[in-house]
Symmetry: C2
Subunit: 439 residues, 2 copies
């Protein structure tokens, strides 16, 4: 008999690999943070486990991977809604960021975001912001997995004055978190309209030198596309392709208003797309043609975007929106089916972030980043197909237990390493300061 | 000092009337199921209340009105998803309905739906189905408010053999519930493609005789529109207008693919629209141009549709989808703002159902159909604007307390009059039977 850490007995297991599989009457064996085995109940007596956990009305699956967010923006949640995009950015978001961003703000905002994400089943996120040291610190405190995207642009912010300075910050962040097994770093040139050709060339070399993934906001709006055509005589996708920035190491976020040429560039360059449907709807940016991306063989991951433009960080809600919206956009009610949506929110995110060797599915030897969803709630009863109930009918509060690399971070709906009350009090202090200043 | 039933002290009150109002430091006085007063804290000492309820992190608002659903279909939730519309209807939904519908099935399904709706803040719904006696019985048992829509069509079902028989059933239902103050009855000719001109004329007379509202599925898909043009040489909206069926007593459900002529017919006939965005997306039906409806001065209510095509009955989720989708569809990020979405989900529903004298807003002398939403959860922190947090970031589990006509039906997240465990066990028995039959 082999001594191991845990045996977990859920009602259903949805491993994501292989496709469409649902195991019943199976048990998951975990040791040292690694998935050792998924076997039929009755065959686990070869293991002697320190703990046995029975989850009799729950589905177990890999944790959600939120492939695009700006965690500190939770502190601006709901501050300014229902505005024209440029009014929102120029009169609300940018001035607020200019006034308030700091290491302390980003630490408090990231912790609020991580609290919300862990409680709704996200075990890994790709951030895209400033003051990443604090965001990484918030991850360490909460035992959350993340890739920290150092935002870089040709403008001055409180975090840096020019493109070189942002790259310098990225080097510091790489150094600071190089020994952290849950934290990786990526470089995030902001967008085609805030980064010059010269800077894109530098970022390409920088990413190669440090073997980093690149994440870019790309073709988020028709205005961006039109401006690129005016200034560079080509669409943003083509411009970045010619600059050599698009590859299998790049994540293009948003990607609305795509032409056939855009699709084929994304396909041949093996660029990943990060779809943020609720942000695209709320900001009236447009519709990403997800079904067509799938038909082109493009890997599409899912992200919530920041809380200032969504306004929650709930991957279950985002997944439902993605799945039903894709059907209307493609005029095909069998487009982006429930399993494909679930894979988009897990394994596809891991692939985009270069982490699919470790996470994104429940298979032997991967890290045990797992969530349990309790399907016994009225809104998910009765259960004909657990995958359908998860994607189309379940709510974030049904996430009961969450593990990151085998360590339980949410236990019966309560965060293990975060003090919920303190985090919310801090958020309220920030609100009071921000309102005081603007009154 | 006047003796009354309750004084309730929430953190915020959103009365819906007047528009955009948010009261702080106010108290609601309730007596005999009626809103007696909403006054600043400190002025309530003229009342001697049997109970005082303090809800220090909650927003109080009128209960949601789900203006279109098919409650018993909860028992088919997730049974068949991601299919082409006709395959879904002809090979799954219709055969299942033919085999399984009965008074018992509809009673159990309606109770599951009501349980889900009460727990997510819906205090009134407009049903549209068969076996309404049982659905009304489920409402009585749970103290839920509803309008029971007797579905009528030119086809035979287990409930009736011809149009006359459905009208006969409607007469029985009117008789059965005439003394129930929470239950009203409406007549629901199914759709333009299942009801003849002759039957529409009869339904018009029938509705006038009994002073009933009429609810119709109208222009749900482009196929329906094209078929109408082929068969009647006009679009469904025009055909029904010429038959005299469209008026301020009529609710047209879905209404995608509208032309300028359709808009102006709806406007001049004062027909109400019931928007079901998640169903329209999931079935790839298309997009209702909600912002344009508002500009035409049309009253737009909100519905979830049945659980077989959504798949939850969550008005908070539906409201968020409506608000963000309207922005993308109209290419205007200030379309259908948070307050307008909240009004759509409450007062506009009451107007459509002819109940706005009684419910839909928190004003003196209306019935106390009210909900409390706890905004202290991480996903709705910090609170700059409670209306924004409710519409864009809150989840159904934040509904803590619900009252229908002053009677508390949900207390600290628990249904007062329904046995949750028993209802879920019944739902599972039906699933077992249905799966057994089809295996």
């Amino acid at each position: 008999m082999k001594n191991i850490d845990s045996l977990i007995y859920p009602r259903w297991i949805i491993p994501i690999e292989p496709d469409y599989q649902v195991f019943e009457n199976h048990v998951i064996a975990i040791n040292n943070g690694i998935i050792l085995d998924i076997i039929p109940v009755g065959f686990e007596n070869k293991y002697n486990a320190k703990e046995k956990i029975v989850l009799s009305s729950h589905a177990m699956m890999p944790g959600f991977i939120n492939a695009h967010t700006h965690t500190p923006m939770t502190l601006f949640r709901g501050m300014a809604d229902d505005l024209k995009l440029m009014e929102w950015l120029q009169h609300h978001i940018w001035p607020s960021e200019k006034t308030w961003l700091s290491e302390e703000f980003c630490f408090d905002g990231a912790r609020l975001a991580i609290l919300e994400m862990l409680k709704s089943g996200t075990t890994c996120f790709n951030d895209n912001y400033f003051y990443l040291k604090s965001i990484g610190e918030a991850c360490r405190q909460s035992q959350m997995r993340a890739s920290l995207g150092v935002c870089a642009l040709d403008f001055s912010t409180g975090y840096g004055n020019n493109f070189q300075e942002y790259l310098k910050k990225a080097e510091e962040i790489i150094e600071q978190f190089k020994c952290d097994e849950l934290i990786s770093v990526n470089i995030a040139p902001h967008a085609p309209y805030t980064v010059s050709d010269q800077s894109f060339s530098e970022v390409k070399k920088f990413a190669e030198r440090y073997q980093l993934k690149i994440q870019i906001h790309l073709q988020e709006s028709i205005e961006e596309v039109n401006e690129s055509i005016r200034q560079f005589q080509m669409r943003p996708v083509k411009r970045l392709y010619e600059l050599g920035v698009l590859s299998s190491h790049t994540q293009a976020v948003h990607m609305v208003h795509l032409t056939e040429e855009d699709f084929s560039i994304i396909q041949k360059s093996q660029t990943h797309i990060v779809h943020c449907p609720e942000s695209n709807l709320k900001l009236a940016s447009g519709f990403c043609q997800v079904q067509k991306c799938i038909e082109y063989g493009i890997n599409v991951a899912l992200g919530t975007d920041g809380a200032a433009s969504n306004n929650d960080l709930d991957m279950l809600g985002e997944m439902k929106t993605a799945a039903i919206l894709a059907k209307a956009v493609s005029q095909n009610s069998s487009a982006l089916n429930a399993f494909e949506a679930l894979k988009m929110a897990t394994l596809n995110g891991a692939k985009a972030m270069g982490l699919s060797e470790k996470i994104g599915s429940l298979v032997n030897n991967k890290h045990a980043d797992m969530i349990a969803i309790d399907l016994s709630y009225p809104n998910t009863q009765p259960v004909y197909h657990p995958i359908s109930q998860i994607v189309y009918a379940s709510h974030a509060n049904q996430i009961s237990d969450v593990w990151v690399k085998g360590k339980q971070v949410l236990k019966n709906h309560q965060c293990v390493f975060l003090d919920e009350q303190e985090i919310i009090e801090k958020a309220n202090l920030w609100k009071t300061k921000i309102l005081g200043e603007s009154l």
